[in-house]
């Protein structure tokens, strides 16, 4: 019975990676071999070369990297400040404000594409990378996560730092931020994965190569009407997912733990 279960678990695992393995096969062989499995067939990197030149992949890569970095940097600053306020300042209207922040956990920017597009048009930010990132920079999830973490840090540590002459911001920077490092790491991994993969809002708000991130570029490139053959699409898809995939394979444990923390909230 145990043996049977082990076999089933393995079978499911194989089924689960099959689409990726298949893409790997298709992308490293000539298009004519796409459905013709022959282990001795010659390998080729031609498809990757073609994909790289058919679509402006270098530009899409750059856009995604800029986008992800910009969002993460802004999130870290904004969420740290807000998390600190909620954790340590007993200001008027705090609970109501916190409740209003949590609304974003349910009403994600994806749902509000129509109105946010209008806002971006008024701000003149349509088709800019800043326009893609702006709605995500104040992240309710980040604020919540940091508030919880800051709350677990003993107040005495802050008081001691203040006695030593640390300012309020100094205490945040020297006491709270270093002690919350694991939370920052978890949050950063989730944020990077989310925005590397995000699609709908970037699609709506961009309309030129110079701003489109990888996912949008990939969608245009992979659309059946683009007429690009399957082997090249596989190569392009693998290229787009590879940075995240490689990072995941290297740091599996951190990734899974971060995603878990992110979900449980």
């Amino acid at each position: 019975m145990r043996k049977l279960e082990t076999a089933a678990a393995w079978l499911l695992a194989i089924v689960w990676v099959a689409p990726l393995l298949y893409a790997l096969w298709a992308s490293t062989h000539a298009a004519s071999l796409a459905t013709h499995f022959d282990l001795t067939a010659p390998l080729t990197l031609d498809n990757f070369r073609k994909a790289w030149t058919y679509a402006p992949f270098p530009r899409h890569f750059l856009n995604t990297v800029i986008l992800v970095t910009m969002i993460l940097a802004a999130q870290l600053v904004l969420c740290t400040l807000a998390g600190y306020a909620f954790a340590r300042f007993d200001f008027a209207g705090r609970n109501i404000a916190f409740g209003l922040v949590l609304v974003q956990l349910m009403v994600m920017p994806e749902v509000l594409i129509v109105e946010n597009y209008i806002t971006m048009a008024k701000l003149g930010l349509v088709d800019t990378i800043a326009g893609i990132g702006l709605p995500y920079m104040a992240s309710a999830f980040g604020i919540f996560l940091l508030r919880q973490t800051f709350k677990t840090i003993p107040r005495e540590l802050e008081d001691a730092a203040r006695v030593e002459g640390c300012s309020m911001m100094g205490a945040l920077w020297r006491v709270y931020v270093p002690l919350a490092r694991p939370t920052y790491l978890a949050y950063a991994l989730v944020s990077i994965s989310y925005h590397w993969n995000n699609f709908l809002w970037p699609l709506v708000i961009t309309n030129s190569v110079n701003t489109r991130p990888l996912t949008v570029g990939l969608a245009i490139f992979g659309a059946p009407e683009s007429g690009v053959d399957w082997a090249v699409i596989s190569a392009g898809t693998l290229m787009a997912v590879s940075p995240l995939l490689v990072a995941f394979l290297l740091f599996q444990r951190q990734f899974m733990q971060s995603f878990m923390q992110a979900g449980i909230k």
């Binding site: 089933a8 695992a13 600190y84 992979g222 392009g236 394979l249």
Partner: protein, 287 residues
């Protein structure tokens, strides 16, 4: 002073949150009472006209029904699979790390890439599914082009994408269960199935409820694959609410009606938020 500092620290995040969450949510509701303005006819107050149009829009009912079918097909399946995966991976399984990794990998892929990968499984004749079917002598089938199969084909893909994500929550829950439970059950001679049914499954209930809410939210906001695979077709057979909102707003340029549809979506998310809130209240005694 603490009031000033508190608000000052909060201000940058608050401005962005108001600007891109609260204001647009309110504006959506407001706009749903107006007509879409054009060059010749400016936007004007129409009361509940947009909602009346919504009620008599067969596509709206179709996408709502599709959303329910899609949720009904994907959620129980991915939860059951996630539970099974977690139990397997939590056990002393040979090559456990590798198996766990395979299950989780789809989670970190963008839906657009997933759709690209799966397109080839579903393509008629040259697709993998048809090749396999041909081996058993079955004929070719256009899985994504047939209104009868398209939603199910997309559901299978979504289960593949999501089960591994839900697995990690079950894994965490399983690891927090006391090992003495299983030992006691062994001494009592309980079968594994009996132990799962009477001990593990009930103890995993809070996790299941949590995953259930999250899976439901996802089923409403995950539409990326439609852009690649079907564009909501054929004949809206695979169209989902958020994709329809996108079409109405950015292909038909009817902002007012798109806002009306968004109000419906927001209403459903609000209902889910209330459910989640009640569940968290309930969970307190368990922790």
């Amino acid at each position: 002073m603490k009031h000033v500092y508190g608000w000052l620290l909060l201000a940058p995040a608050a401005i962005l949150l108001i600007g891109f969450t609260h204001y647009p949510a309110a504006a959506t509701l407001f706009d749903s009472f107006f007509s879409t303005g054009t060059v010749v006819r400016p936007s004007r107050f129409v009361g509940l006209d947009n909602y009346a149009a919504l009620g008599s829009d067969p596509i709206f009912w179709k996408v709502l029904w599709n959303n329910l079918l899609f949720a009904g097909a994907t959620i129980p399946t991915s939860i059951a699979l996630a539970m099974l995966m977690a139990i397997w991976v939590n056990d002393r399984l040979p090559g456990r790390a590798l198996v766990r990794m395979s299950y989780f990998t789809p989670t970190i892929l963008p839906m657009v890439a997933v759709a690209n990968l799966w397109l080839f499984f579903y393509t008629p004749q040259i697709g993998m599914l048809d090749k396999i079917a041909a081996m058993f002598g079955a004929g070719s089938h256009n899985w994504l082009g047939d209104p009868g199969t398209v939603l199910w084909a997309l559901s299978v893909m979504t289960v593949w994408k999501e089960a591994g994500f839900f697995m990690i929550f079950y894994l965490a829950a399983l690891q927090s269960l006391s090992p003495e439970l299983e030992e006691a059950a062994k001494i009592e001679g309980a079968s594994r199935w009996y132990f799962f049914r009477r001990v593990t499954f009930p103890l995993l209930m809070p996790t299941t409820l949590f995953v259930l809410v999250n899976a439901t939210i996802n089923s409403f906001k995950l539409v990326d694959h439609l852009f690649i695979l079907t564009k909501g077709g054929p004949d809206n057979a695979s169209n989902l609410l958020l994709y329809y909102i996108y079409q109405v707003a950015f292909s038909f340029f009817d902002t007012a009606y798109a806002s009306t549809l968004t109000v419906v979506l927001l209403g459903m998310l609000a209902a889910l938020a209330i459910v989640q809130f009640l569940l968290i209240e309930k969970r307190v005694h368990y922790r």
